[in-house]
């Protein structure tokens, strides 16, 4: 005969909660990388022409902040990103919801989107330049293209995935088209729409950097390109860092935004 006992086990002995430990490790890994990088650069283990020491990148960053150069270029890029997002998101939302709600509209636009979506957006840049010229128009257009596709596809999917019962409720309670849009289709699809917008902004940022490198006299993409042509590697790292920061800020802003506008999403 065997007896199995299930003994009570004291709480894990660690003084830190799992979450706090995760945070610590999250911060530790990039710091460790920077430290190793710095040491390697100091002791000549890596070529500082390509991998300048983090400390020298930092001093360049401070210089560029002082001269206002960094903020000017960042501001210009952010502005283009904002206009482009607006320009791409509004038609994507309207068309996406219309396609989700109406079978005929879906049948009409589906093939167009399916045919244009796989074209690498970067390949459209020369065309954008032809149409919109070298000015702001072409950059804003590229961002808009990047935002439009993921958003229109996600919005359509989001509306189609709304449980049919909610549309039945709308019909039974006599919601007109306008109300169906505002009280059912839009909020019902919002979680999926937000994911689409996130994806779109990511692609928009990529296309913006590309467009700025090719044809611009301002913006972070231009900063990277000019750093390459003048071989100022520290400056290039600073611009890359700034783009990374924009990406992180967008993610954080989205998390906050989703908490505010999708309060019903279960935690």
């Amino acid at each position: 005969m065997s007896v199995q006992t299930i003994a009570s086990r004291p709480e894990a002995a660690s003084r830190l909660s799992a979450r706090a430990r995760d945070r610590l490790l999250n911060v530790a890994s990039p710091l460790a990388l920077l430290l190793v990088w710095e040491l390697c650069a100091r002791f000549g283990l890596i070529d500082t022409r390509f991998f300048p020491a983090p400390s020298s990148v930092l001093s360049t960053l401070i210089d560029m902040l002082h001269s206002g150069e960094l903020l000017t270029h960042t501001g210009i890029s952010m502005q283009r990103l904002a206009y482009g997002t607006l320009l791409g998101a509004v038609p994507a939302l309207v068309l996406g919801i219309a396609m989700g709600l109406n079978r005929s509209i879906r049948a009409l636009f589906d093939p167009l989107i399916a045919a244009t979506y796989p074209v690498p957006k970067s390949a459209i840049l020369p065309l954008a330049l032809l149409i919109f010229g070298l000015g702001e128009g072409s950059k804003i257009f590229m961002v808009a293209i990047g935002v439009f596709f993921p958003l229109v596809i996600n919005t359509t999917t989001g509306v189609l995935e709304i449980n049919k019962i909610y549309l039945d409720v709308g019909r039974n309670y006599k919601a007109n088209r306008w109300n169906t849009f505002w009280t059912i289709a839009l909020p019902g699809a919002l979680p999926v729409i937000m994911t689409g917008l996130r994806l779109g902004l990511g692609i928009g940022l990529v296309l913006l950097a590309l467009a700025e490198m090719m044809v611009a006299k301002s913006g972070l993409g231009y900063l990277i390109w000019s750093a390459w042509s003048t071989f100022e590697v520290e400056q290039m790292y600073v611009a890359l860092f700034a783009i990374a920061i924009i990406g992180i800020l967008i993610t954080l802003a989205f998390n906050e935004l989703e908490r505010i506008i999708i309060p019903w999403k279960a935690e």
Binding site: L101, N102, R103, N163, I165, Y166, L167, D168, V169, G170, R171, N172, Y173, K174, A175, N176, R177, N179, T180, T183, I184, P187, G188, L190, I262, P263, W264, A266
Partner: protein, 311 residues
Amino acid sequence: MTRYGDMREDPDIARCRASADARARSSALQQIEFLTMTRALSKIEASQSAKPRSAIRICDLRKTFGPLVAIDDVSVEIARGEFFMIVGPSGCGKTTLLRILAGLESITAGSIEIETPTSHRPVNSMIFQGESIFPWMTVWNNAAYGLRMRSVPGPVIKEVVGHYLARTGLTRFADYYPHQLSGGMRQRVSIARAFANDPEILLMDEPFSALDAQNKLLLQEELLRIWEEHKKTVVFITHSVDEAVFLGDRIMVMTAQPGKLKSFVQVPVARPRNIIELQQTRQYGELITQIWSSLREEVDRARRQEEEMTT
């Protein structure tokens, strides 16, 4: 009066006759549109005001989905203020019948007339099976939905919604979102939404089928209490024989597919009812037996149909 199906000058001819469907002016969101006759109808009503009219008059109703006959040859009159139950085996078309009454499904043949004495009231409001309250709206906004869609003035909405949230015990939860509530509470919101809309007819499609036995009993009692206030006409679908007896004035048993009328069972139990006490009476046992004996054959037939389909 609202009528589904077609209409002739002579109401007596028009009343009970196979009809073409009423999809003349259908739109994407609204497959069938109620044909609300104004002048012509008030004349007809005036000529008939002598005899008491039923709230719902279904005549020779037939509904097919392609080759499948869902409902066939159903004629029934439901009286004003009647709590009317429909019982049938699964797949017998009872939900389809309710969806037709709700205006969510078209008619293949036959006609339905719904008496609407006041024009400001919506014809019907439905309590759906399962989760039908909007997850993105608070309890309050869900309950106010029907009134808002009808552009009822704000103070009225406030009063009516406040009343029904209190009746369903949800006042404290007015600002909660559905995901913060239990299944029973969510179904209460659905009940509040339908009652607050103040329709001529309440349609209920197995509203308690997803709840556990205890919650079900509570909600059945609550539903009866709220219903006693105004005694609106109710068409209630269930597959549960005891629920039919607890709640109904009259029970219609439907056959297995195609759904036809099998029998009517009157429930001569006084109101207000106490469900627990009712369960202990001899009358209750007899009613259950009576309904079940009528239903059993159909449930067996439905099962055979299902088995044939799978093989």
